[in-house]
Symmetry: C2
Subunit: 241 residues, 2 copies
Protein backbone atom coordinates (compact mmCIF):
# COMPACT_ATOMS: atom_id res chain seq x y z
CA UNK A 1 0.00 0.00 0.00
CA UNK A 2 1.37 3.40 -1.00
CA UNK A 3 0.71 6.53 1.04
CA UNK A 4 -1.74 9.29 0.18
CA UNK A 5 -0.80 12.86 -0.68
CA UNK A 6 -2.80 15.56 1.07
CA UNK A 7 -2.56 19.04 -0.44
CA UNK A 8 -3.47 21.22 2.50
CA UNK A 9 -4.49 24.87 2.29
CA UNK A 10 -3.17 26.83 5.27
CA UNK A 11 -5.18 30.02 4.74
CA UNK A 12 -3.90 33.59 4.66
CA UNK A 13 -1.48 33.58 7.58
CA UNK A 14 -3.28 33.55 10.94
CA UNK A 15 -2.75 30.00 12.29
CA UNK A 16 -6.35 30.02 13.55
CA UNK A 17 -7.54 30.31 9.95
CA UNK A 18 -6.57 26.74 9.18
CA UNK A 19 -9.66 24.61 8.71
CA UNK A 20 -10.58 21.94 11.23
CA UNK A 21 -9.88 19.35 8.53
CA UNK A 22 -6.43 20.78 7.76
CA UNK A 23 -5.51 20.65 11.43
CA UNK A 24 -6.70 17.06 11.81
CA UNK A 25 -4.77 15.85 8.76
CA UNK A 26 -1.58 17.74 9.60
CA UNK A 27 -1.53 16.34 13.12
CA UNK A 28 -2.16 12.80 11.84
CA UNK A 29 0.34 12.83 8.97
CA UNK A 30 3.58 10.89 9.42
CA UNK A 31 5.26 13.29 6.96
CA UNK A 32 4.75 17.05 6.73
CA UNK A 33 6.34 18.87 3.79
CA UNK A 34 6.47 22.53 2.83
CA UNK A 35 8.21 24.98 0.51
CA UNK A 36 10.74 27.49 1.83
CA UNK A 37 13.29 29.91 0.50
CA UNK A 38 16.87 28.63 0.74
CA UNK A 39 18.14 29.15 4.27
CA UNK A 40 14.70 30.10 5.66
CA UNK A 41 12.11 28.22 7.66
CA UNK A 42 9.45 29.52 5.30
CA UNK A 43 5.99 31.05 5.72
CA UNK A 44 4.06 27.79 5.52
CA UNK A 45 6.12 26.23 8.33
CA UNK A 46 5.58 29.38 10.38
CA UNK A 47 1.80 29.20 10.01
CA UNK A 48 1.57 25.61 11.28
CA UNK A 49 4.12 26.08 14.04
CA UNK A 50 1.53 26.27 16.85
CA UNK A 51 -0.10 23.06 15.66
CA UNK A 52 2.75 20.62 14.99
CA UNK A 53 3.14 17.94 17.63
CA UNK A 54 6.74 17.03 16.80
CA UNK A 55 5.75 13.50 15.80
CA UNK A 56 6.01 13.99 12.02
CA UNK A 57 9.04 13.73 9.77
CA UNK A 58 9.48 17.20 8.28
CA UNK A 59 10.51 17.56 4.64
CA UNK A 60 11.33 21.16 3.76
CA UNK A 61 11.57 21.82 0.00
CA UNK A 62 14.05 24.64 -0.52
CA UNK A 63 13.57 26.73 -3.66
CA UNK A 64 16.67 27.18 -5.80
CA UNK A 65 18.04 30.72 -6.08
CA UNK A 66 16.46 32.10 -9.27
CA UNK A 67 16.39 35.86 -8.71
CA UNK A 68 19.08 36.42 -11.33
CA UNK A 69 16.89 34.89 -14.08
CA UNK A 70 13.78 36.34 -15.76
CA UNK A 71 10.56 34.37 -15.13
CA UNK A 72 10.20 33.45 -18.78
CA UNK A 73 13.85 32.62 -19.47
CA UNK A 74 14.71 29.04 -20.45
CA UNK A 75 17.23 28.88 -17.58
CA UNK A 76 14.58 29.79 -14.99
CA UNK A 77 12.18 27.23 -16.37
CA UNK A 78 14.76 24.45 -16.38
CA UNK A 79 16.08 25.27 -12.88
CA UNK A 80 12.53 25.23 -11.53
CA UNK A 81 11.58 22.06 -13.38
CA UNK A 82 14.62 20.32 -11.90
CA UNK A 83 13.65 21.52 -8.41
CA UNK A 84 10.12 20.15 -8.83
CA UNK A 85 11.45 16.79 -10.06
CA UNK A 86 13.75 16.50 -7.04
CA UNK A 87 10.88 17.39 -4.70
CA UNK A 88 8.70 14.77 -6.38
CA UNK A 89 11.42 12.16 -5.90
CA UNK A 90 11.81 13.10 -2.24
CA UNK A 91 8.08 12.85 -1.49
CA UNK A 92 7.69 9.72 -3.60
CA UNK A 93 10.13 7.89 -1.33
CA UNK A 94 7.77 8.41 1.60
CA UNK A 95 4.62 7.68 -0.39
CA UNK A 96 6.13 4.49 -1.83
CA UNK A 97 6.97 3.39 1.71
CA UNK A 98 3.29 3.75 2.63
CA UNK A 99 3.59 7.01 4.54
CA UNK A 100 0.93 9.67 4.00
CA UNK A 101 2.36 13.09 3.17
CA UNK A 102 0.74 16.39 4.14
CA UNK A 103 2.08 18.94 1.66
CA UNK A 104 1.33 22.44 2.90
CA UNK A 105 0.22 25.33 0.71
CA UNK A 106 -0.34 28.91 1.80
CA UNK A 107 -3.85 30.16 0.99
CA UNK A 108 -5.70 27.65 -1.18
CA UNK A 109 -3.69 24.82 -2.81
CA UNK A 110 -5.20 25.23 -6.29
CA UNK A 111 -5.09 29.03 -6.54
CA UNK A 112 -1.58 29.96 -7.80
CA UNK A 113 1.42 28.70 -5.84
CA UNK A 114 3.96 25.89 -6.01
CA UNK A 115 1.85 23.05 -4.67
CA UNK A 116 0.12 22.47 -8.00
CA UNK A 117 3.40 21.75 -9.78
CA UNK A 118 4.04 18.77 -7.50
CA UNK A 119 0.39 17.75 -7.47
CA UNK A 120 0.10 17.29 -11.23
CA UNK A 121 3.27 15.18 -11.17
CA UNK A 122 2.38 13.03 -8.14
CA UNK A 123 -1.28 12.38 -8.87
CA UNK A 124 -0.35 10.10 -11.74
CA UNK A 125 1.11 7.62 -9.25
CA UNK A 126 -0.50 8.24 -5.86
CA UNK A 127 -3.93 8.82 -4.33
CA UNK A 128 -4.35 12.52 -3.61
CA UNK A 129 -6.81 14.66 -1.70
CA UNK A 130 -7.05 18.44 -1.70
CA UNK A 131 -8.13 20.34 1.40
CA UNK A 132 -9.20 23.81 0.26
CA UNK A 133 -8.08 26.84 2.25
CA UNK A 134 -8.99 30.46 2.86
CA UNK A 135 -7.28 32.56 0.16
CA UNK A 136 -5.02 35.53 0.89
CA UNK A 137 -7.62 37.55 -0.99
CA UNK A 138 -10.38 36.60 1.49
CA UNK A 139 -8.03 37.19 4.43
CA UNK A 140 -7.14 40.65 3.17
CA UNK A 141 -10.74 41.70 2.45
CA UNK A 142 -11.65 40.56 5.98
CA UNK A 143 -8.73 42.57 7.39
CA UNK A 144 -9.93 45.62 5.45
CA UNK A 145 -13.61 45.02 6.27
CA UNK A 146 -14.21 45.51 2.56
CA UNK A 147 -17.10 43.65 0.90
CA UNK A 148 -15.71 42.59 -2.49
CA UNK A 149 -18.62 41.52 -4.69
CA UNK A 150 -22.31 42.44 -4.65
CA UNK A 151 -25.16 41.24 -6.83
CA UNK A 152 -23.93 40.85 -10.42
CA UNK A 153 -20.39 42.19 -9.86
CA UNK A 154 -17.69 40.57 -11.97
CA UNK A 155 -14.45 40.01 -10.06
CA UNK A 156 -11.09 39.83 -11.83
CA UNK A 157 -8.00 38.39 -10.19
CA UNK A 158 -4.85 39.82 -11.77
CA UNK A 159 -1.19 38.96 -11.24
CA UNK A 160 0.89 42.15 -10.90
CA UNK A 161 3.35 40.56 -13.31
CA UNK A 162 1.08 41.44 -16.28
CA UNK A 163 2.21 44.21 -18.65
CA UNK A 164 1.01 47.75 -17.82
CA UNK A 165 -1.43 48.05 -20.73
CA UNK A 166 -3.05 44.69 -19.92
CA UNK A 167 -3.48 45.73 -16.28
CA UNK A 168 -5.16 48.99 -17.29
CA UNK A 169 -7.52 47.26 -19.73
CA UNK A 170 -8.50 44.52 -17.29
CA UNK A 171 -9.05 46.97 -14.43
CA UNK A 172 -11.28 49.15 -16.61
CA UNK A 173 -13.35 46.10 -17.56
CA UNK A 174 -13.83 44.91 -13.94
CA UNK A 175 -16.49 45.71 -11.35
CA UNK A 176 -14.20 44.40 -8.63
CA UNK A 177 -10.58 43.28 -8.74
CA UNK A 178 -7.73 41.83 -6.75
CA UNK A 179 -4.11 42.27 -7.77
CA UNK A 180 -1.69 39.67 -6.41
CA UNK A 181 2.07 39.21 -6.86
CA UNK A 182 2.96 42.83 -6.23
CA UNK A 183 6.59 42.81 -5.03
CA UNK A 184 8.73 44.75 -7.48
CA UNK A 185 5.67 45.28 -9.69
CA UNK A 186 4.07 47.64 -7.20
CA UNK A 187 4.89 50.96 -8.91
CA UNK A 188 3.60 49.68 -12.27
CA UNK A 189 0.38 48.36 -10.72
CA UNK A 190 -0.26 51.59 -8.83
CA UNK A 191 0.16 53.55 -12.05
CA UNK A 192 -2.28 51.19 -13.78
CA UNK A 193 -4.94 51.98 -11.16
CA UNK A 194 -4.29 55.68 -11.69
CA UNK A 195 -4.49 55.33 -15.49
CA UNK A 196 -7.76 53.40 -15.15
CA UNK A 197 -9.21 56.15 -12.94
CA UNK A 198 -9.57 53.74 -10.02
CA UNK A 199 -6.85 54.89 -7.63
CA UNK A 200 -9.31 56.44 -5.14
CA UNK A 201 -11.37 53.25 -4.79
CA UNK A 202 -8.49 50.83 -4.21
CA UNK A 203 -7.13 49.48 -0.92
CA UNK A 204 -3.64 48.22 -0.15
CA UNK A 205 -3.39 45.36 2.37
CA UNK A 206 -0.15 44.02 3.78
CA UNK A 207 0.11 40.89 5.94
CA UNK A 208 -3.70 40.59 6.21
CA UNK A 209 -4.76 38.47 9.27
CA UNK A 210 -1.14 38.36 10.51
CA UNK A 211 0.91 40.28 13.05
CA UNK A 212 1.86 43.71 11.67
CA UNK A 213 -1.22 43.69 9.41
CA UNK A 214 -1.64 46.98 7.61
CA UNK A 215 -4.55 48.37 5.59
CA UNK A 216 -4.55 51.71 3.79
CA UNK A 217 -5.98 53.45 0.76
CA UNK A 218 -3.76 52.50 -2.18
CA UNK A 219 -2.98 56.17 -2.83
CA UNK A 220 -1.42 56.45 0.67
CA UNK A 221 0.97 53.49 0.32
CA UNK A 222 4.54 54.86 0.28
CA UNK A 223 6.67 54.19 -2.78
CA UNK A 224 8.92 51.17 -2.95
CA UNK A 225 8.27 47.46 -3.41
CA UNK A 226 5.49 45.61 -1.57
CA UNK A 227 6.28 42.56 0.57
CA UNK A 228 5.35 38.98 -0.32
CA UNK A 229 2.15 38.99 1.74
CA UNK A 230 0.44 41.99 0.16
CA UNK A 231 -2.22 42.72 -2.39
CA UNK A 232 -4.51 45.41 -3.75
CA UNK A 233 -8.29 45.22 -3.49
CA UNK A 234 -10.78 47.04 -5.68
CA UNK A 235 -14.10 46.43 -3.91
CA UNK A 236 -17.19 46.15 -6.11
CA UNK A 237 -20.09 48.56 -5.91
CA UNK A 238 -22.91 46.39 -7.28
CA UNK A 239 -26.56 46.03 -6.46
CA UNK A 240 -27.43 46.44 -2.79
CA UNK A 241 -31.06 46.81 -1.71
CA UNK B 1 -21.01 47.96 26.66
CA UNK B 2 -22.62 46.85 23.41
CA UNK B 3 -21.93 43.44 21.89
CA UNK B 4 -19.68 42.71 18.94
CA UNK B 5 -20.83 41.40 15.57
CA UNK B 6 -18.81 38.53 14.13
CA UNK B 7 -19.31 37.83 10.43
CA UNK B 8 -18.29 34.21 10.18
CA UNK B 9 -17.44 32.40 6.97
CA UNK B 10 -18.59 28.78 7.07
CA UNK B 11 -16.77 27.51 4.01
CA UNK B 12 -18.19 25.54 1.08
CA UNK B 13 -20.38 23.02 2.90
CA UNK B 14 -18.32 20.33 4.66
CA UNK B 15 -18.59 21.17 8.39
CA UNK B 16 -14.91 20.25 8.79
CA UNK B 17 -14.01 23.14 6.45
CA UNK B 18 -14.90 25.73 9.06
CA UNK B 19 -11.77 27.43 10.32
CA UNK B 20 -10.54 26.89 13.85
CA UNK B 21 -11.33 30.53 14.58
CA UNK B 22 -14.88 30.25 13.23
CA UNK B 23 -15.50 27.23 15.45
CA UNK B 24 -14.14 28.96 18.54
CA UNK B 25 -16.25 32.08 18.01
CA UNK B 26 -19.46 30.21 17.15
CA UNK B 27 -19.15 28.06 20.27
CA UNK B 28 -18.47 31.13 22.45
CA UNK B 29 -21.20 33.37 21.01
CA UNK B 30 -24.31 33.95 23.14
CA UNK B 31 -26.29 34.59 19.92
CA UNK B 32 -25.96 32.69 16.63
CA UNK B 33 -27.84 34.04 13.63
CA UNK B 34 -28.21 32.80 10.06
CA UNK B 35 -30.23 33.27 6.90
CA UNK B 36 -32.75 30.67 5.76
CA UNK B 37 -35.51 30.31 3.21
CA UNK B 38 -38.99 30.67 4.68
CA UNK B 39 -40.01 27.40 6.31
CA UNK B 40 -36.52 25.87 6.02
CA UNK B 41 -33.67 25.37 8.48
CA UNK B 42 -31.26 26.72 5.90
CA UNK B 43 -27.87 25.65 4.58
CA UNK B 44 -25.82 27.72 7.02
CA UNK B 45 -27.58 26.18 10.02
CA UNK B 46 -27.01 22.74 8.51
CA UNK B 47 -23.27 23.30 8.14
CA UNK B 48 -22.78 24.27 11.81
CA UNK B 49 -25.14 21.62 13.16
CA UNK B 50 -22.32 19.28 14.35
CA UNK B 51 -20.66 22.15 16.23
CA UNK B 52 -23.46 23.94 18.09
CA UNK B 53 -23.52 23.23 21.82
CA UNK B 54 -27.14 24.29 22.41
CA UNK B 55 -26.07 27.13 24.70
CA UNK B 56 -26.65 29.96 22.21
CA UNK B 57 -29.84 31.85 21.43
CA UNK B 58 -30.56 31.12 17.75
CA UNK B 59 -31.88 33.89 15.52
CA UNK B 60 -32.92 32.58 12.11
CA UNK B 61 -33.48 35.31 9.50
CA UNK B 62 -36.10 34.05 7.07
CA UNK B 63 -35.98 35.50 3.56
CA UNK B 64 -39.25 36.91 2.25
CA UNK B 65 -40.80 35.14 -0.73
CA UNK B 66 -39.55 37.05 -3.78
CA UNK B 67 -39.58 34.49 -6.57
CA UNK B 68 -42.49 36.26 -8.29
CA UNK B 69 -40.45 39.46 -8.72
CA UNK B 70 -37.55 40.17 -11.09
CA UNK B 71 -34.20 40.88 -9.36
CA UNK B 72 -34.09 44.44 -10.65
CA UNK B 73 -37.75 45.31 -10.06
CA UNK B 74 -38.53 48.08 -7.55
CA UNK B 75 -40.83 45.70 -5.65
CA UNK B 76 -38.03 43.16 -5.16
CA UNK B 77 -35.62 45.82 -3.99
CA UNK B 78 -38.08 47.27 -1.49
CA UNK B 79 -39.16 43.86 -0.13
CA UNK B 80 -35.52 42.92 0.38
CA UNK B 81 -34.56 46.27 1.92
CA UNK B 82 -37.42 45.88 4.41
CA UNK B 83 -36.22 42.36 5.25
CA UNK B 84 -32.68 43.63 5.90
CA UNK B 85 -33.95 46.46 8.10
CA UNK B 86 -35.99 44.02 10.19
CA UNK B 87 -32.99 41.71 10.52
CA UNK B 88 -30.82 44.65 11.59
CA UNK B 89 -33.39 45.60 14.24
CA UNK B 90 -33.53 42.03 15.51
CA UNK B 91 -29.75 41.70 15.84
CA UNK B 92 -29.38 45.23 17.25
CA UNK B 93 -31.56 44.26 20.21
CA UNK B 94 -29.00 41.63 21.20
CA UNK B 95 -25.98 43.83 20.45
CA UNK B 96 -27.46 46.74 22.43
CA UNK B 97 -27.97 44.38 25.36
CA UNK B 98 -24.25 43.59 25.29
CA UNK B 99 -24.53 40.16 23.66
CA UNK B 100 -22.05 39.24 20.94
CA UNK B 101 -23.67 37.95 17.76
CA UNK B 102 -22.12 35.36 15.42
CA UNK B 103 -23.77 35.95 12.04
CA UNK B 104 -23.08 33.00 9.78
CA UNK B 105 -22.25 33.24 6.07
CA UNK B 106 -21.78 30.35 3.68
CA UNK B 107 -18.40 30.48 1.91
CA UNK B 108 -16.63 33.76 2.64
CA UNK B 109 -18.64 36.60 4.24
CA UNK B 110 -17.42 39.33 1.86
CA UNK B 111 -17.71 37.39 -1.41
CA UNK B 112 -21.35 37.78 -2.60
CA UNK B 113 -24.13 36.73 -0.23
CA UNK B 114 -26.56 38.34 2.19
CA UNK B 115 -24.23 38.90 5.14
CA UNK B 116 -22.73 42.08 3.62
CA UNK B 117 -26.10 43.81 3.49
CA UNK B 118 -26.44 43.55 7.27
CA UNK B 119 -22.77 44.24 7.85
CA UNK B 120 -22.75 47.64 6.13
CA UNK B 121 -25.83 48.63 8.16
CA UNK B 122 -24.60 47.35 11.53
CA UNK B 123 -20.99 48.46 11.38
CA UNK B 124 -22.04 52.09 11.76
CA UNK B 125 -23.19 51.35 15.31
CA UNK B 126 -21.34 48.25 16.55
CA UNK B 127 -17.83 46.83 16.63
CA UNK B 128 -17.51 44.18 13.93
CA UNK B 129 -15.00 41.49 13.02
CA UNK B 130 -14.93 39.39 9.88
CA UNK B 131 -13.69 35.80 9.93
CA UNK B 132 -12.86 34.86 6.34
CA UNK B 133 -13.95 31.48 5.03
CA UNK B 134 -13.15 28.99 2.28
CA UNK B 135 -15.16 29.98 -0.81
CA UNK B 136 -17.47 27.64 -2.69
CA UNK B 137 -15.10 28.16 -5.61
CA UNK B 138 -12.13 26.75 -3.67
CA UNK B 139 -14.26 23.89 -2.34
CA UNK B 140 -15.39 22.97 -5.86
CA UNK B 141 -11.91 23.14 -7.41
CA UNK B 142 -10.68 20.88 -4.57
CA UNK B 143 -13.55 18.47 -5.22
CA UNK B 144 -12.64 18.42 -8.92
CA UNK B 145 -8.88 18.24 -8.25
CA UNK B 146 -8.61 21.06 -10.77
CA UNK B 147 -5.78 23.61 -10.37
CA UNK B 148 -7.39 26.91 -11.27
CA UNK B 149 -4.62 29.46 -11.83
CA UNK B 150 -0.98 29.07 -12.85
CA UNK B 151 1.73 31.69 -13.29
CA UNK B 152 0.23 34.82 -14.86
CA UNK B 153 -3.29 33.45 -15.38
CA UNK B 154 -6.08 35.98 -15.01
CA UNK B 155 -9.14 34.59 -13.23
CA UNK B 156 -12.61 36.00 -13.79
CA UNK B 157 -15.51 35.31 -11.44
CA UNK B 158 -18.82 35.69 -13.25
CA UNK B 159 -22.40 35.59 -11.97
CA UNK B 160 -24.56 33.43 -14.23
CA UNK B 161 -27.15 36.21 -14.06
CA UNK B 162 -25.16 38.27 -16.63
CA UNK B 163 -26.58 38.63 -20.16
CA UNK B 164 -25.48 36.03 -22.71
CA UNK B 165 -23.28 38.37 -24.77
CA UNK B 166 -21.48 39.66 -21.68
CA UNK B 167 -20.79 36.08 -20.54
CA UNK B 168 -19.33 35.16 -23.94
CA UNK B 169 -17.10 38.25 -24.06
CA UNK B 170 -15.85 37.82 -20.49
CA UNK B 171 -15.15 34.10 -20.99
CA UNK B 172 -13.20 34.77 -24.18
CA UNK B 173 -11.07 37.36 -22.34
CA UNK B 174 -10.27 35.03 -19.40
CA UNK B 175 -7.45 32.55 -18.83
CA UNK B 176 -9.46 30.94 -16.04
CA UNK B 177 -13.03 31.49 -14.89
CA UNK B 178 -15.65 30.53 -12.36
CA UNK B 179 -19.35 30.98 -13.01
CA UNK B 180 -21.55 31.21 -9.90
CA UNK B 181 -25.32 31.69 -9.47
CA UNK B 182 -26.29 29.10 -12.05
CA UNK B 183 -29.81 27.98 -11.09
CA UNK B 184 -32.22 28.82 -13.89
CA UNK B 185 -29.36 30.50 -15.81
CA UNK B 186 -27.68 27.17 -16.50
CA UNK B 187 -28.76 26.70 -20.14
CA UNK B 188 -27.69 30.26 -21.04
CA UNK B 189 -24.31 29.84 -19.33
CA UNK B 190 -23.64 26.49 -21.01
CA UNK B 191 -24.42 28.05 -24.39
CA UNK B 192 -22.02 30.91 -23.59
CA UNK B 193 -19.21 28.41 -23.00
CA UNK B 194 -20.05 26.74 -26.31
CA UNK B 195 -20.14 30.09 -28.15
CA UNK B 196 -16.76 31.05 -26.61
CA UNK B 197 -15.25 27.74 -27.79
CA UNK B 198 -14.56 26.68 -24.19
CA UNK B 199 -17.13 23.95 -23.59
CA UNK B 200 -14.56 21.13 -23.70
CA UNK B 201 -12.33 22.68 -21.02
CA UNK B 202 -15.07 23.45 -18.47
CA UNK B 203 -16.11 21.41 -15.43
CA UNK B 204 -19.47 21.34 -13.68
CA UNK B 205 -19.39 20.83 -9.90
CA UNK B 206 -22.46 20.27 -7.76
CA UNK B 207 -22.41 20.23 -3.94
CA UNK B 208 -18.58 20.34 -3.83
CA UNK B 209 -17.19 19.02 -0.47
CA UNK B 210 -20.69 17.89 0.60
CA UNK B 211 -22.61 14.64 0.58
CA UNK B 212 -23.81 13.84 -2.94
CA UNK B 213 -20.92 15.84 -4.43
CA UNK B 214 -20.80 15.52 -8.20
CA UNK B 215 -18.11 16.54 -10.68
CA UNK B 216 -18.40 16.16 -14.45
CA UNK B 217 -17.29 17.77 -17.69
CA UNK B 218 -19.70 20.63 -18.36
CA UNK B 219 -20.67 19.08 -21.68
CA UNK B 220 -21.97 15.96 -19.87
CA UNK B 221 -24.24 17.80 -17.42
CA UNK B 222 -27.85 16.91 -18.29
CA UNK B 223 -30.19 19.73 -19.26
CA UNK B 224 -32.30 21.48 -16.67
CA UNK B 225 -31.54 23.95 -13.91
CA UNK B 226 -28.55 23.58 -11.58
CA UNK B 227 -29.04 23.46 -7.80
CA UNK B 228 -28.04 26.26 -5.40
CA UNK B 229 -24.69 24.68 -4.52
CA UNK B 230 -23.24 24.39 -8.01
CA UNK B 231 -20.82 26.20 -10.25
CA UNK B 232 -18.76 25.93 -13.41
CA UNK B 233 -14.96 25.98 -13.41
CA UNK B 234 -12.75 26.88 -16.33
CA UNK B 235 -9.27 25.89 -15.11
CA UNK B 236 -6.36 28.00 -16.35
CA UNK B 237 -3.55 26.62 -18.47
CA UNK B 238 -0.77 29.08 -17.64
CA UNK B 239 2.97 28.77 -17.18
CA UNK B 240 4.11 25.55 -15.55
CA UNK B 241 7.78 24.57 -15.54
Amino acid sequence: MTGRLYGIGLGPGDPELLTIKALRLIQAAPVVSYFAKAGRRGNARGIVDPWLTGAAIEVPLHYPMTTEHAFDSPVYVSVLAEFYEKAVASLSTHLDAGRDVALLAEGDPLFYGSFMHLYVRLRERFACEIVPGVTGMAGCSAAAGAPMTWGDDVLTVLPGTLPFAALVDKLKASDAAVVMKLGGNFAKVRLAFEEAGLLDRALYVERGTMARERVSPLKDKPEGPAPYFSLILLPGQGRRP
